[in-house]
Amino acid sequence: MSARKTPLVEMRNISIAFGGIKAVENVSVDLFPGEVVGLLGHNGAGKSTLIKILSGAYPADAGEIAINGQTVAIRTPRDAKANGIETIYQTLALADNIDAAANIYLGREKLTSWGTLDDASMEAETRKAMARLNPHFRRFKEPVSALSGGQRQTVAIARAIHFNARVLIMDEPTAALGPAETAQVGELIKQLKADGIGIFLISHDLHDVFDLADRIVVMKNGRVVGTAAVSDVSQDDVLGMIIGGKCPPGAIPGPGAAGPSAEPTMTPPPTEAHRTLQP
């Protein structure tokens, strides 16, 4: 990875707090065109919050975001989409009561010259988009609630890649999928990568991440433990980063890395307190 190119996305010193709890604290990550960056960490490590800031769901309290070197303001999902950032959420974020085409075009509907919804044209486009991802898909007229988990996932993916995304955020894209469909998503990621799209991949499956990602960023308690190219670290190293916050030699440590200075917090509570509790 040539680090001297301009990053596609650069998030600098991002912080956000909810009611005094710092969900994301001083986090900086970047993403280059055609690169897959795996975001790893426990539940509650701040990965989902971080990407929700990038996708416009939460406005950050501090820090800035640059796209192709230019600082942009992302306060709403609309801002993110205007900058070519598309997201596949873990929950899929589909409106269950409307059909695939309506979901894919939600918020950017095609209109007829009369200003009314052009459902026929949206359905035709949807048929083309879905044919590429899942040739067997036929249920265009039915509400999304009638579809299987894999089909719903395909709709969410189609929505993200249909509008010429430059940056794709995938939050647990394979969580609801069987082995065959998971492999299919893997193929898709490789294909999108080849098209020069940058991808943030959030996954619990270390194996998947090592397969698909070029670099990994590990988060713990809202801070970055470290960043590493997948070729420089082992899966065990990464587990150590996720669980213990320990940064291995092959990785660049972040502000959240456990160093010697972190040790004093491990001291036991004063024995005075113990004694007062005794009868």
Binding site: T76, A93, A95, D96, N97, L106, E109, L117, A120
Partner: protein
């Protein structure tokens, strides 16, 4: 089920029409043949219209997972204001029985209703107060406000042209105009269906077989013609017919003169409202957003939909329609009273729910809600015709509401 799906006919709609047919024939037989008469059905159409107009708005509100308990009270206060405007202010400003009085009054009613609705919507969407509470407050506040407008005095009579908005003899458009309206409706329906068909074909989608399409069009055309003939078969009372004839200089014949009622203006208002609102719900981005919010509010927001603004607008639409219903009610009573619209919120919600609107949000149709309003009103008028006591009427309507929703739940379960 498969046949319905194949020919794109909504099975729930068919079920509701069947229920309506059962109710109508039942009352017809029980009342010794006085329910299915032009006169009774004409009155039924007039009585249903105010609730049907408001039910169109209530569908959208319930679809977004909210509720509006205030429509009856808002109708009351807007009705009072519209009475004061046309009976006290406008006569001084532009003179009594001015040709524009009715229009100014009606526009003022819709504007006032719309403002009240937007205010409710803003509290719900931007201050995030539950809609149940905001509109429960509205139920009390606006009923009180209706009293304050004239400190309880009834305002009457209304402007002559305005009265036609409420039906009665002034609001009957006559045979010729009814036929013209029917012809326009038939032309619009056939053109619309053929255009939709051609559009689908141009994208290579499946359409109904031509024979089925022809049958569907045939049924619709026959229905429109039948309705026109039905309302034209209801003559004006002899005294009024005579006055009309004399005004036109026609001599009054020995056996009397048959002058048709034709469509009632409030019924036309309700039908046009239903068509416009169906269009809004199905063919505009606003309607699409309303349904998306009902299906998954978070998804709608993440897709870039301004969910708060849409929610506020939905209440604005409800307010405008309540203002329109206030005109119909005030005109029909020929008076503005502060108790107008009492309990209407419950009938409107019941109409929407009987019409297949799901209280858990995301599902509902305008046509269904209007049919729901017709079913509710048919039950009530039928029982009045049979001389059933008011308390028992309420019991029956209440039971029907619960049973209808139960049946709908069973149907939905079977779909899954």
């Amino acid at each position: 089920m498969d046949i319905f799906r194949k020919f794109e006919i909504d099975p729930r709609l068919v079920g509701m029409l069947a229920a309506l047919a059962v109710i109508w024939t039942g009352f017809h037989l029980l009342s010794g043949g006085s329910f299915l008469t032009p006169r009774n059905l004409w009155n039924l159409s007039v009585q249903t219209s105010a609730i049907a107009v408001m039910a169109c708005g209530m569908v959208l509100i319930i679809v977004t997972r909210n509720i509006d308990l205030s429509v009856g009270s808002v109708l009351g206060v807007v009705g009072m204001l519209v009475g004061v405007i046309q009976a006290r202010w406008l006569p001084e400003l532009i003179g009594l029985e001015h040709p524009l009085t009715w229009l100014i009054s009606a526009l003022a009613a819709m504007a006032l209703g719309g403002l009240i609705g937007l205010f409710h919507g803003a509290l719900i969407a931007y201050l995030v107060i539950p809609s149940f509470i905001v509109t429960l407050g509205g139920l009390l506040v606006w009923r009180g406000a209706a009293w304050w407008v004239t400190t309880g005095q009834t305002v009457a009579p209304m402007d002559g042209r305005f009265r036609s908005l409420g039906g009665s003899v002034e609001g009957a458009i006559g045979a010729t105009a009814s036929w013209a309206l029917g012809a326009v409706a038939i032309f619009a329906i056939i053109t619309g269906m053929l255009m939709a068909r051609r559009r689908k074909l141009s994208f290579g989608f499946t359409v109904r077989p031509p024979a089925i399409e022809a049958i569907v069009i045939g049924v619709i055309v026959a229905t429109v013609i039948g309705v026109v003939m039905l309302f034209n078969a209801y003559p004006l009372p002899a005294t009024i017919a005579r006055r009309l004839a004399e005004a036109q200089g026609t001599p009054w014949p020995e056996g009397g003169l048959f002058i048709s009622h034709g469509f009632a203006v409030p019924m036309i208002i309700a039908l046009v409202t239903g068509i416009v609102m169906s269009f809004v719900a199905r063919r505009t981005t606003f309607g699409r957003y309303v349904f998306a919010i009902g299906g998954n509010p978070e998804a709608a927001q993440l897709s870039g939909v301004n969910t708060r603004r849409v929610l506020m607008q939905v209440y604005g639409v409800m307010g405008v329609l309540t203002g329109l219903a206030a005109c119909i009610t005030t005109a029909r009573l020929n008076a503005a009273t502060n108790s107008a619209g009492s309990l209407d919120e419950l009938y409107v919600i019941a109409a929407a729910v009987i019409g297949g609107t799901s209280l858990s949000g995301g599902v509902g149709t305008i046509v269904g809600a209007m049919l729901g309003a017709l079913i509710m009103q048919s039950l009530q008028s039928g029982m009045v015709l049979l001389g059933v006591d008011t308390p028992l009427q309420n019991i029956v309507v209440g039971v029907v509401l619960v049973v209808a929703v139960w049946l709908d739940t069973l149907y939905r379960k079977r779909l899954k």
